[in-house]
């Protein structure tokens, strides 16, 4: 194991400052500092608040990761960093720190794709992936179905959200029914007491016509509006809003459409492994329904533990390790972070 290079990964694409250390597919450290508490009163991630927090957290998180791994910087063989996609200003803090780290250590630097990093994180949990895999990535910042043909070199986007990310939809609906930010855990808790069949909310982009044009795409704005209408109508009619049933019905609609399309993608592409990742993958209903439907369809479902599902530096180190193992050339020191880096670009030049 110790003859594999030690890769340090840095992640700052949203509101988590992550530094991870990985050898091959072995996780050595995963230090994360989150600014989520600072965003609560704004009901969502404020980019400038996140960027400021990244700058403050960067060096302490780096030191924490090294201590966790019992490693020193001299042991690091290469540095990997999220080049995109993500919040522009947030990405720049991580990329600038990573470049400075690479220069100070005189080690190669790899700018890698955040989305593919989420898939690479799974290798830290259950060992090397057998590609191709379909990945369902669901978080507050993104909602995608990816086809990963080779973790180090080749990924394509099969579908994505046309409007809100799934996690954003959770945040907005939580507000509508008087629950706090972040919406995911709070809606899940409320839904436990509710009946998911009591109110049937619409499933976006699932009509025959939509399936032709947006087969693997998602849309949550219609769902959000439907919940808003339902709640407002109830209030106008003087009825108490059954928060638990609304939460359960909404959560069911999201989980249903996400899993249905991801399974469809596996079946139609002849893929037998699905990876579920992203912060919203912590949602118990989404996990259960995905497991259920994958089992029925004969698809192997793989998912990392929660701390590797949310944004973190270990996933970037894991992808960096895959890229290094393949002997790919490092990124040049003048690469730019790219807030809309396409998933096809696993490694930037």
């Amino acid at each position: 194991m110790s003859d594999q290079p030690l890769i340090l990964g840095i992640e700052t694409s949203c509101d988590e400052t992550g530094v991870g250390l990985v050898r091959g597919t072995t996780l050595l450290a995963n230090a994360v500092a989150s600014s989520v508490d600072e965003h609560v009163r704004f009901g969502g991630v404020v980019p400038e608040v996140a960027s400021r927090a990244h700058l403050e957290a960067m060096v302490p998180t780096l030191q924490r990761a090294l201590a966790e791994a019992g490693a020193s910087l001299d042991d690091v063989d290469a540095v990997a960093v999220t080049a995109g996609p993500g919040l522009a200003g947030a990405l720049m803090v991580g990329v600038s720190a990573a470049k400075a780290l690479a220069v100070a250590l005189d080690k190669p630097l790899y700018g890698v794709n955040h989305l593919v990093g989420h898939v690479a994180a799974e290798q830290l949990e259950n060992g090397p992936l057998t590609e191709p895999v379909v990945a369902l990535l669901v978080s507050g910042g993104h909602t995608e179905i990816l086809l990963v043909e080779d973790i180090a070199t080749s990924a394509t986007l099969l579908g994505q959200t046309l409007d809100d990310a799934a996690g954003e939809a959770f945040d907005k609906v939580a507000r509508l029914i008087g629950l706090k930010y972040p919406g995911g855990p709070n809606i899940q808790r409320a839904a436990e007491e509710g009946d998911p069949a009591a109110i049937r909310f619409p499933r976006g982009l699932t009509s025959q016509r939509d399936l032709e044009r947006h087969r693997y795409d998602f849309s949550f704005s219609g769902l959000k509006t439907a919940v808003a209408r339902w709640v407002e109508t109830a209030e106008r009619e003087g009825r108490a809003v059954p928060v638990a049933d609304v939460a359960a019905g909404f959560q069911e609609a999201v989980a249903d459409v996400l899993t249905r399309k991801a399974v469809l993608a596996c079946q139609e592409r002849g893929i037998s492994t699905m990876v579920l990742a992203g912060g919203v993958a912590a949602n118990a209903r989404l996990r259960d329904l995905t497991r259920e439907r994958c089992a029925v369809a004969g698809i192997e479902l793989r998912q990392p533990r929660f701390s590797l599902c949310t944004d973190n530096g270990a996933m970037i180190a894991a992808l960096g390790a895959a890229v290094v193992e393949r002997g790919l050339p490092p990124s040049s020191l003048d690469f730019a972070s790219d807030s809309s880096l396409p998933v096809t670009q696993v490694l930037v030049g």
Partner: protein, 216 residues
């Protein structure tokens, strides 16, 4: 000694190396959108030009702003990280003071002057200095018109953007890492921790009451 100085608080990305006697290398590129791309290649180029390695560095200096936040953070993230990795002290200097040092080094006006840089939104980051270059007010942020009454000569891009507010524009237009390094070596600038001088709060408002989605 070998001091690496850098500043990214304005559209200029500027780096310099100083050995305690003189500036060994300096490089500046003006491009408001490419701070992350430009900074570290300029650092490695400066080291190569000086025939030095990163291991020869003995201290770092960084302009701490005020300046547009995204660019400013690029330099601070780099300086703090290099400082931590190489175990070097990181000296922060107000970037307006770097410009003021440049005024004294170039062509001192012999009278009080101002430094004003572009803060966008029709405002400037500014500070005023006495004839000897000692800061008398600021740093602060606000409309250039707020300084118009005093009609000071001023260095920095703000003096060029808002000529009505100042007697005349002084050089330099942008901070130079060579001036930053020289000011630190000469102990001619106040040394601050390497923390950003934002001067503005993040633009963010808590969500307002929700809007109706139903027809009236």
């Amino acid at each position: 000694m070998l001091l690496l100085a850098l500043d990214t608080s304005t559209p200029a990305v500027t780096v310099a190396l100083h050995d305690g006697e003189r500036v060994l290398a300096e490089a500046t590129t003006v491009d408001p959108r490419r701070h992350t791309e430009l900074l570290m290649p300029l650092v490695t180029a400066a080291l190569a030009e000086a025939g030095a390695s990163r291991r020869d560095l003995t201290e770092l200096a960084v302009g701490v702003g005020p300046g547009p936040f995204t660019g400013l953070r690029v330099g601070l993230a780099a300086a703090r990280t290099m400082g931590a990795v190489l175990d070097l002290p990181v000296r922060g200097v107000c970037s307006l003071d770097v410009l003021a040092y440049g005024v004294r080094a170039a062509n001192p006006p012999g009278e009080p002057f101002a430094v004003a840089t572009d803060a966008r939104r029709r405002e400037v980051y500014w500070a005023t200095y006495d004839a000897g270059g000692v800061r008398t007010t600021g740093p602060d942020v606000g409309p250039a018109a707020g300084l118009a009454e005093r009609r000071l000569p001023a260095a920095g891009a703000g003096a060029r953007l808002y000529p009505d507010a100042f007697a005349r524009a002084l050089d330099p237009e942008y901070p130079s890492a060579a001036h930053l390094a020289a000011a630190v070596v000469a102990e001619a600038a106040e040394i601050l921790p390497p923390d950003p001088l934002y001067l503005r709060r993040p633009d963010a408002t808590p969500p307002s009451a929700r809007k109706s989605v139903l027809a009236r």
